[in-house]
């Protein structure tokens, strides 16, 4: 126990955190108790330990009392360990002579009985005081950061993050699954609350991405594997065959004209199926890149092997290549921004709203296309049956705030419903009814927007729609009755309308779990990617070097998405420009003279950091590759592998502390 040879002097501090901790834990009792523990020479409490005066108090005590160890009982180490380590090191002590006790998140906030809470705090303080005596001075190791960045997803979040980074001179790989970038925003008609034309503000950014010398844009591509760690990720990208040679296609669309299918007859994804496309198609006129794509699912050549291949013939640049195979690109990047977005809630899941049963029930995204000048009806609101609506019901909260579907509020539906109400009114002069539970319009100019839409004569009915069914009084059964309780007047109302718009919520993408696994990041229970800290690290993930932007993290509107994309880019930039990242020194090492060379540890390391030296006949650990999980340490049969920060003695001393175990008991 060499670490205890010198005189250990421990300073102990407990934080009140206002009343967060002191409201339930008797801090005075803990302080008095800590003072009786071995090696503790200072024991104090303070209102806010993380504040400047709190940190200064520690530093002053280190100097005045020659403290050589510090224990702070406060919030979770995941929140403020760094703060107190810095304070410790600024007073000239090695920062790893510090140990933190989680007294808030895992104690004061989760228990009700002050006595039990105080007991628990004392147990853990004893444990930390025990442990810190074994701490060793360590240095953080630094890893260089590769300057290139991978951005996954080419919606507005990915676009904005890519441009920010590229403008700062960094090389960006933007990988988009679809044939074009643009994401959901490209489908929108106008944006709330300013009613900017979505295409007008988005398409310049799309072409900026395309033309930026620092951006490598890979559309119709998917990230298939990510290995490595912060600063040094190895990424494999699959480029799906477009059956068009990128460099040769000039986007003349002659091949589309020449296709053996004379009429478009397949589901057009971009227009939500409201129009049709051919197997060879351009997703939409402003698609970026301006390249056509051949869909093997619908192309007769791929389905039957028989086709005149008129598309190949017509292309004088020989850009059509039906034998194209997927290609794989391997890149090395230092940081990754995940901007994989959301998908709209499947409205069929609320069976009684009749989506998919009644043709005049639409989803909001369909209506976006319907009112868009470049949409399937050129902006004319003509319904599936060819008629034009004179009355429209907009049903809020479809798939949101509902235990039967999704619990969360999707945050944008109220405002886009208001926007659609305005646009539909403008296009059709119809009577518009918004059926809502609560109107939620937080944010700049948002409630003003609500006022404006109200002034336009849009009607608001406070009540969640309970039933939608055809009006039997209507000869053609086209008209629908929307039934709800107007809860403000306590009347059951049945409103006959021509068209129903379902304001569907935002849900995680179906493959979010696969993406999460590939990147080794976490999801909340509902499936959105989880940020490292909701307030203090909103774009970080638990994996260093991977950042989140946009709706993959949770529903949000365009301004917030862009802000978050900027923040994610800034976080990446901060790492890149620093050039290196400091890592916890919790790596494992093998004491050579103790190792028998049994090789049991070698296969256990997922990072191949352990190798066997055939000459010395011993195993050794490459510190640069070790991530510090400690699996080999726990498995070494002769106890010859140790882990910095988590040495056996340190953990045993914690156990002793928790259980208030005295060595003399061992003699029994």
């Amino acid at each position: 126990m060499s670490s205890t040879n010198g005189k250990i002097k421990i300073g102990f501090y407990i934080c009140h955190c206002g009343t967060n901790i002191a409201g339930i834990i008797d801090v005075q009792k803990v302080v008095d108790y800590a003072a009786t523990l071995p090696n503790v020479v200072v024991s104090k409490h303070y209102k806010y330990m993380c504040s400047d005066p709190g940190q200064e108090m520690i530093q002053k005590d280190i100097k005045d009392n020659e403290l050589n160890r510090v224990v702070v009982a406060a919030c979770s180490p995941l929140l403020h360990e760094r703060t107190f380590r810095n304070a410790t090191s600024q007073a000239g002590l090695n920062q790893f002579y510090f140990q933190m006790v989680n007294t808030r998140e895992q104690n004061a906030w989760v228990h009700l009985d002050p006595e039990a809470s105080t007991d628990k705090a004392m147990d853990l303080v004893r444990s930390a005081v025990n442990r810190v005596a074994f701490h060793k001075p360590l240095e953080k190791k630094t890893v260089p950061i590769k300057p290139d960045v991978l951005v996954v997803g080419g919606g507005i979040a990915g676009i904005h993050a890519s441009l920010t980074l590229a403008n700062a001179g960094k090389k960006v790989y933007l990988v988009e699954r679809d044939p074009t970038i643009g994401g959901h925003m490209a489908m929108f008609d106008k944006t709330f609350p300013t009613l900017d034309c979505a295409a007008c503000i988005l398409t310049p950014k799309m072409s900026a991405v395309k033309n930026h010398p620092n951006i490598t844009m890979w559309t119709y591509s998917e990230v298939v594997s990510v290995d490595g760690y912060v600063g040094n990720f190895q990424v494999k990208v699959k480029r799906k065959p477009r059956y068009i040679i990128d460099d040769l296609c000039v986007g003349c669309l002659d091949c589309i004209e020449a296709c053996v299918y004379k009429e478009p007859r397949f589901f057009d994804e971009f227009n939500q199926g409201l129009s049709k496309r051919k197997p060879v198609y351009m997703p939409f006129p402003q698609a970026t890149p301006q390249l056509v794509v051949i869909d093997p699912e619908t192309c007769i050549w791929f389905k039957t092997g028989k086709c005149k291949q008129t598309c190949v013939e017509v292309c004088d640049r020989k850009a059509v290549d039906l034998n194209q195979q997927p290609t794989y690109k391997e890149i090395e990047v230092g940081t990754i921004i995940v901007a994989t977005g959301f998908q709209p809630f499947d409205a069929k899941k609320v069976y009684y709203y009749g989506y998919g049963t009644y043709p005049n029930v639409y989803t909001a995204l369909e209506v976006e296309r319907l009112i868009n000048a470049s949409g399937p009806t050129s902006g004319e609101v003509v319904m599936r049956d060819g008629s034009r609506p004179k009355s429209i019901a907009i049903v809020h909260c479809v798939g949101s705030r509902d235990k039967n579907t999704n619990l969360w509020c999707s945050r944008v539906c109220c405002l886009y419903s208001l926007k659609l109400a305005h646009l539909l009114k403008e296009h059709t002069h119809a009577n518009i009814y918004n059926f809502y539970i609560d109107i939620r319009t937080p944010g700049k100019m948002m409630d003003e927007f609500y006022t404006r839409i109200s002034e336009e004569g849009v009607k608001f009915i406070r009540g969640r729609v309970a039933d939608i069914y055809p009006d039997t009084n209507d000869e053609e059964h086209r008209r629908l009755i929307v039934k709800a309780e107007d809860t403000l007047i306590s009347e059951i109302i049945k409103v006959p309308v021509d068209m129903v718009v379902l304001s569907t919520g935002l849900v995680p993408r179906d493959d979010a779990q696969d993406v999460r696994r590939m990147l080794n990041i976490s999801c909340s229970t509902e499936g959105f990617f989880i940020e490292r800290h909701p307030k203090l690290a909103p774009v970080n993930t638990f994996t260093d070097g991977i950042f989140l932007a946009g709706c993959c993290q949770g529903p949000k509107d365009i301004p917030d998405t862009v802000a978050q994309a900027g923040a994610a880019a800034a976080e990446a930039l901060a790492l890149i420009d620093l050039g290196y990242i400091e890592l916890e020194p919790n790596t494992a090492f093998i004491v050579e003279e103790e190792c028998s060379g049994c090789k049991s540890c070698v296969p256990l390391c997922p990072y191949t950091a352990i190798s066997y030296d055939e000459v010395k006949k011993k195993a050794s650990i490459n510190e640069a590759l070790c991530k510090g999980c400690g699996t080999c340490v726990a498995s070494c049969p002769s106890g010859s592998i140790k882990q910095n920060l988590f040495e056996d003695e340190e953990i045993y001393s914690e156990i002793d502390g928790i259980l208030n175990y005295k060595m003399e008991e061992a003699l029994c």
Partner: protein, 170 residues
């Protein structure tokens, strides 16, 4: 009635102590999340943070029991979700083996528990901890340090025995 009161009083005095080893990335974060969400649970667990459930050495578990823990809980990431790829599988294998040893040495099954709790499952921390505390309360204390002392008592009687025998010899 009286008996119940006595039992209640007894149970109030004795509170099980559970040593928990939580991995930094999933379960420790989940326990923090339970805090941030103010999800109340029994105050009987004492968490030791490790980077990965793969770091949990069976010795730590046995040591905890021997030093007075009434239960040991290990929390790691769900299979497939390990921050270090496969540390949780490695622990699971050890756990399955250790469980057999611990069983045959007479420590009840409910005292040793492995749970996969992801960073977002704050409420699962509550469910698991409360359930484990309830089960251990039903079992009563394990109290190995006390047992070891009791075992040692048999050696203390020797001296008087010897004295007695020597008298007889005399």
């Amino acid at each position: 009635m009286l008996k119940i009161e006595i039992e209640e009083a007894a149970s109030k005095q004795w509170q099980p102590k559970i040593v928990a080893f939580f991995c930094n990335w999933c379960t420790y974060t989940a326990a923090d999340l339970a805090g941030v969400s103010r999800i109340k649970h029994a105050p009987n667990i004492r968490v030791i943070r490790v980077m990965c459930s793969g770091r949990v050495d069976p010795q730590f578990i046995l040591d905890s029991f021997a030093k007075g823990a009434d239960g040991v809980l290990i929390g790691g990431c769900h299979p497939g979700d390990c921050h270090y790829q496969e540390g949780n599988y490695k622990f699971l294998r050890r756990f399955q083996m250790l469980r057999r040893v611990v069983d045959s040495l007479g420590i009840e099954k409910d005292r040793l528990r492995l749970e996969w709790i992801s960073a977002s499952e704050g409420d699962k921390v509550r469910i698991v901890v409360n359930d484990m505390v309830a089960k251990i309360k039903a079992l009563g204390p394990l109290g190995l340090p006390v047992k070891y002392k009791e075992w040692a008592n048999e050696m203390n009687v020797l001296e008087s025995e010897i004295a007695g025998k020597e008298e007889v010899y005399a």
